[in-house]
């Protein structure tokens, strides 16, 4: 069975995630300088940004896997799309939680309908709906096909949502995001961000893998149940 191979893979991923996460935490606490204007609060940025990137990549994976599913009709890709969406929603939820914690002391408000925030919220809503749909369809084949269609339609919608919100927001003043990507970031801050990015990517991959394995184990158990029932019927028939 390929099980032992995937187990080793998961263990390695878990180790990488743990090591980089500890290193990242240490760097956030002791290595990266405290931002001059924002103070300690800015440090949430090292968690917020990697979570957001991975969340968005997760939704892209949902699209890719949904598409491959519709072409190949293999349960394998349905499981993968489901896992990618679930971990993506988890990460995006954390993005939506960490964002306001930072925004309140810096902007003075928990939330503003700025383009990036609004897009993240809409994405979250679309993929929560995707997961709800999966929950409310009973037949596994139907669930796979229908959710793949939503996974594709939802993703195609993203650029349109983005342009709509951006244009809608340009009529209003926008808060400036200090310490944004690239420009003028202290090299120690950049290094910390990279380590944290590696940590959260490894965490994403680890959770995603475990989720896929869980679903595969479920399938296997269902299969065993079915075979057991069939055998039961046979012996009953013979008796």
């Amino acid at each position: 069975m390929a099980m032992s191979g995937t187990k080793t893979g998961s263990a390695i991923l878990a180790l990488i995630a743990l090591a980089t996460m500890l290193a990242g935490l240490a760097m956030v606490g002791f290595y990266a300088p405290v931002e001059a204007e924002q103070g300690v609060v800015q440090k949430i940025f090292y968690f917020h940004v990697p979570l957001a990137w991975n969340g968005f990549i997760g939704f892209t994976l949902v699209f890719v896997f949904s598409f491959i599913f519709l072409v190949t009709r293999s349960r394998k890709w349905d499981i993968r799309a489901h896992a990618a969406a679930e971990v993506g929603v988890l990460f995006t939820t954390l993005v939506l939680v960490t964002g306001p914690i930072w925004a309140k002391p810096i902007w003075g408000i928990w939330w503003t309908w700025d383009a990036r925030l609004t897009l993240t919220l809409v994405l979250w809503l679309i993929y929560v709906a995707y997961l709800m749909l999966r929950h409310y369809v009973d037949s596994p084949d139907k669930r796979a096909t229908l959710s793949a269609v939503v996974g594709i339609v939802g993703f195609i919608d993203v650029p349109l949502v983005y342009f709509a919100i951006r244009w809608w927001r340009t009529q209003h003043p926008q808060p400036v995001i200090a310490g944004g990507e690239g420009s003028g970031l202290d090299p120690r801050m950049a290094a910390t961000l990279w380590v944290c990015l590696a940590a959260f990517t490894a965490l994403y991959l680890y959770l995603y893998r475990r989720r896929v394995m869980l679903e595969e184990t479920r399938d296997e158990v269902d299969d065993l149940h079915r075979r057991f029932d069939e055998r039961g019927h046979k012996t009953q028939g013979a008796a």
């Binding site: 679309i126 709906a129 369809v137 009973d138 229908l146 269609v149 339609v153 949502v161």
Partner: protein, 221 residues
């Protein structure tokens, strides 16, 4: 394909003319939302005029979802989904027929709400009536393109009435935004809405195409 489309469209129009279920549900619910907004917000005339377009589209989005839900619920309830699947016809013809029927129902609902909206919110709807009707059609096409597809999806779920709005509303946010802005323009509240007209057209083209391409997957056992 055209023949299939015409047959489905004709069938849906006939059912609606006889039962008037979809449109009366959409109409009554939309009017209710408008009335509730008035109670909840107690707007003065100037505010009502400025914000009217937003209320109109929120009311329509909620009411329209009910009509879209009926689109495939009636097929499911009478066991006709299977007949549609067995029919040796092009699936995209079925989609187009359903889609056009929904566009007609939605635009008709909007036209029915319009006089009440004009009275409640005291907005000058007659100034750019042609533009306003164009916005109605473009908005209804946007809602219906995704709505027809998602209605077929929701009909397969345990929580049909819940699933359609939960799926549809986030995805139609661009239509809603663009429709509100273009309606504001048609009502003379804003001066320029060329970006929003373009966005509406782009959304309509993208999702009518996507709907055509993926509908065959939705209608299978």
């Amino acid at each position: 394909m055209l023949k299939t489309m015409a047959a489905i469209l004709w069938k849906d129009l006939k059912i609606e003319l006889r039962t008037k279920e979809s449109m009366s549900a959409a109409f009554v619910f939309s009017v209710l939302v408008l009335v509730i907004f008035n109670f909840a917000l107690d707007l003065d005339t100037a505010q009502a005029r400025r914000l009217g377009a937003g209320f109109f589209w929120v009311a329509f989005a909620f009411g329209g979802t009910l009509a879209l839900n009926r689109s495939f619920a009636i097929e499911k309830e009478s066991g006709c989904t299977r007949a549609l699947m067995l029919a040796p016809v092009d699936r995209s013809g079925i989609y187009t027929g359903k889609f056009l029927a929904n566009v007609i129902f939605l635009v008709a609902t909007q036209v029915l709400i319009l006089p009440l909206f004009a009275v409640f919110f005291d907005v000058p709807v007659g100034n750019r009536l042609g533009t306003l009707l164009l916005v109605f059609v473009l908005g209804a096409v946007g809602f219906s393109s995704v709505g027809t597809l998602f209605s077929a999806i929701a009909a397969n779920t345990r929580m049909r009435e819940l699933m359609l709005p939960v799926l549809l509303l986030p995805v139609t946010i661009p239509v809603l935004l663009a429709a509100v802005e273009t309606t504001s323009y048609a009502l003379g509240v804003t001066d320029d809405a060329s970006f929003w007209f373009k966005l509406l057209v782009v959304y309509d083209v993208v999702f009518v195409t996507v709907g055509h391409l993926v509908f065959e997957y939705v209608l299978e056992e």
